[in-house]
């Protein structure tokens, strides 16, 4: 097949260590990149803005979370709160007159600082108790945002995102907003791929596997846990701001509730913990499959093959979503990323499927 491993002999470390050592992978990445750049031409504005755009942004969020949960092993059930902090800081900074580029940076920093406070709990406890602690922080942040009028603009208020420019391009058009999101998700992807093959990434993995053992081999556990929380919260904060400016174009507390946190964790798990391609697949799966299946049921209903009430139809996405999570955990705990990996490895050695790789 097109994946061929034969004839590829790296003679330098640099060549063996590059991000995509196999030409077929490079081709694949190139084609996908070209498709992503051409998407505004290929897809109608409706599909671009209501499917592709949220998919990209939520992929960035899932990538930020997988850095924390998958690579560093710190469980986090309050990531939507971190994104909310980023979104609100971003909008307030732009309103205060800062250019959008700096506001994004500021949003990331504010989210990173508060997110690191979340991380303080991780220094004390781990596993289950960390889940509970981050869950409690999610509720606290939600409450502060809703009840402090300076942040939310009053109870039940919606803050409109002010019109702004990114690198001198006004964000008024959907295409411009799409490209901002694309740039951001590409940046996060490259960052994650590189973290995974650097010393920092290996230290984080050591902390994930067993923090005491990591300390024994000379890894500063406290520092790396905080680094993981800081980096991932920074990315999450900027993603939140991008989400507010490019997708919702407004921000309300309801966009970042506990359910969104659960959704993000679901994306990471369905995709596969720590897998970069998995974050893309997981985000697509969790966002799109309930929509597609619900549309299917609605279609069957309209054709008269099913007789479901509107109430039932409105709850079907929730059921599908729950079944998806349960099904994936039972059948493929390593997620879509692992399935992709299996297919890729099969093709690499095709037709000699018993050679091990």
């Amino acid at each position: 097949m097109f994946y061929r491993l034969s004839g590829i002999r790296h003679t330098r470390y640099a060549a063996a260590r590059q991000l995509w050592p196999i030409p077929a992978d490079r081709w694949q990445v190139g084609v996908l990149l070209a498709l992503a750049c051409l998407a505004p031409v290929l897809f109608s504005p409706f599909y671009l803005l209501s499917y592709l755009l949220p998919w990209l942004i939520f992929t960035a969020a899932a990538l930020s979370l997988t850095l924390l949960m998958g690579i560093a092993g710190q469980l986090h059930f309050g990531f939507a709160a971190v994104m909310a902090i980023g979104a609100y800081s971003g909008i307030h900074l732009v309103r205060a007159g800062l250019p959008f580029e700096l506001a994004l940076l500021g949003a990331g920093l504010v989210a990173a600082l508060i997110g690191t406070v979340f991380g303080a709990a991780a220094l004390r406890v781990k596993g289950l108790y960390l889940v509970m602690a981050t869950l409690a922080m999610q509720y606290l942040v939600d409450w502060v945002i809703i009840n402090v009028p300076v942040i939310s603009g009053g109870a039940q208020a919606t803050l409109q995102a002010p019109s702004t420019t990114f690198l001198f391009v006004p964000l008024a058009t959907g295409v411009a907003r799409y490209y901002v999101a694309l740039l951001w998700v590409l940046f996060v992807t490259l960052l994650l791929l590189n973290i995974k093959r650097s010393a920092v990434g290996r230290a984080l993995v050591a902390v994930r596997d067993k923090d005491y053992a990591a300390a024994v081999i000379g890894i500063h556990v406290v520092r790396f846990k905080l680094v993981a929380f800081f980096t991932s919260s920074f990315l999450g904060g900027v993603t939140g701001a991008v989400l507010a400016f490019c997708y919702y174009q407004a921000v309300t507390p309801e966009q970042f509730t506990f359910n969104v946190s659960v959704q993000l964790v679901a994306m990471v798990l369905v995709g596969g913990l720590g897998s970069v391609i998995g974050a893309y697949l997981g985000a697509a799966f969790v966002l799109l499959v309930p929509i597609v299946l619900t549309n299917l049921v609605v279609l069957l209903n309209d054709l008269g093959w099913l007789n479901a009430s509107t109430n039932l139809l409105s709850h079907i996405p929730l059921m599908i979503y729950g079944v998806l999570i349960i099904g994936f955990l039972l059948l493929e705990p390593l997620g879509l990323g692992k399935i992709y990996d299996n297919i890729r490895k099969y093709l690499l050695v095709w037709p000699f499927r018993h050679s091990d790789l």
């Binding site: 108790y129 602690a133 679901a266 729950g322 349960i326 955990l329």
Partner: protein, 292 residues
């Protein structure tokens, strides 16, 4: 002053009713080390089961009795079909699996039965009990008493033959196997018992606020109760639920007007956070010693 006492008494009773939700949590965690985030949804499901049985034409008490059997079976099934396959998986997988079950149940119940709240009538008169100048809701009073009875019953249960087996299982799975205890069955039974406690909570909370998906939000105060009391301690449920209930009633009673409402969730969150930062295993919980 009477306002304070009223908050105190009602808070303690509400707390005891949180204890009903927390009890199921502890039963499961004590035997299998699994945190069941679907406990809130199980209470909702129990409420729906009772409501449906009443709609079929049974009296409330018969419905509750039959509901006990059904929810016990549901607990057994959930353990057999879902949780048993997850043995040995990382904690995040198990937590997420129970959350998936929670989301699914939250879709199924209101989806098939209608989203409007369903009333369960326990036949308790609406007039409050008046002691001095303190008004106490009768259902809360009964709920509090039922909670206390159930907690006491679980304490006694853990002294019976079966309860001793469950305690052995909670201590160590492998050594339980080696002395001939069926660990799988013990864990299954603990899920069934959690289903039983869900019926009690579902009947009482369902009659207080109606059965709809908001019942599953009992999960959050229940988590605070078990974190505070200790995840594997029945006595902890009693103490934790009283503290969470009283603080969650008295503090919002004075602060809600100043802060613009919703301080109960803040109190609950802070209880969780402070406990985890100071004494993660709770007041009565057993501290896990970890080895590399």
């Amino acid at each position: 002053m009477s306002y304070f006492i009223e908050l105190l008494v009602n808070g303690a009773l509400t707390g005891a009713m949180y204890g009903l939700a927390a009890l199921g949590f502890v039963l499961i965690y004590k035997s299998s080390g699994v945190v069941n985030l679907a406990q809130g949804a199980m209470i909702m499901l129990a409420g729906y089961v009772i409501w449906m049985l009443v709609m079929v034409g049974l009296s409330v008490w018969l419905a509750i009795a039959l509901g006990l059997v059904l929810m016990f079976l549901f607990g057994l099934l959930a353990e057999r079909l879902l949780l048993r396959k997850m043995v040995g998986q990382p904690i995040i997988m198990i937590v997420m699996l129970t959350l998936g079950l929670e989301i699914f149940l939250r879709g199924v119940g209101p989806g098939f039965l209608g989203a409007s709240p369903k009333q369960i009538d326990l036949g308790v008169p609406l007039a409050p009990v008046i002691i001095g100048d303190v008004f106490i809701n009768r259902v809360y009073l009964i709920g509090g008493i039922v909670a206390l009875v159930l907690i006491a019953a679980s304490l006694l249960f853990f002294r019976t033959r079966l309860g001793t087996k469950l305690r052995a299982v909670s201590d160590d799975h492998v050594s339980s196997w080696s002395v001939g205890i069926s660990v799988e069955r013990a864990i299954g039974i603990s899920w069934g018992l959690a289903g039983l406690s869900a019926i009690a909570a579902g009947a009482i909370w369902g009659s207080v606020q109606g059965v709809d998906w908001t019942l599953s939000e009992l999960l959050f105060p229940a988590i605070a109760v078990v974190i505070l009391g200790g995840l594997d301690s029945v006595v902890g449920v009693l103490v934790g639920s009283l503290i969470v209930g009283v603080l969650g009633s008295v503090i919002p009673g004075y602060l809600d007007e100043l802060a613009g409402g919703g301080t109960r969730d803040v109190v609950t969150s802070l209880i969780i956070l402070v406990t985890i930062m100071i004494r993660p295993y709770g007041i009565f919980g057993r501290e896990d010693i970890e080895r590399v």
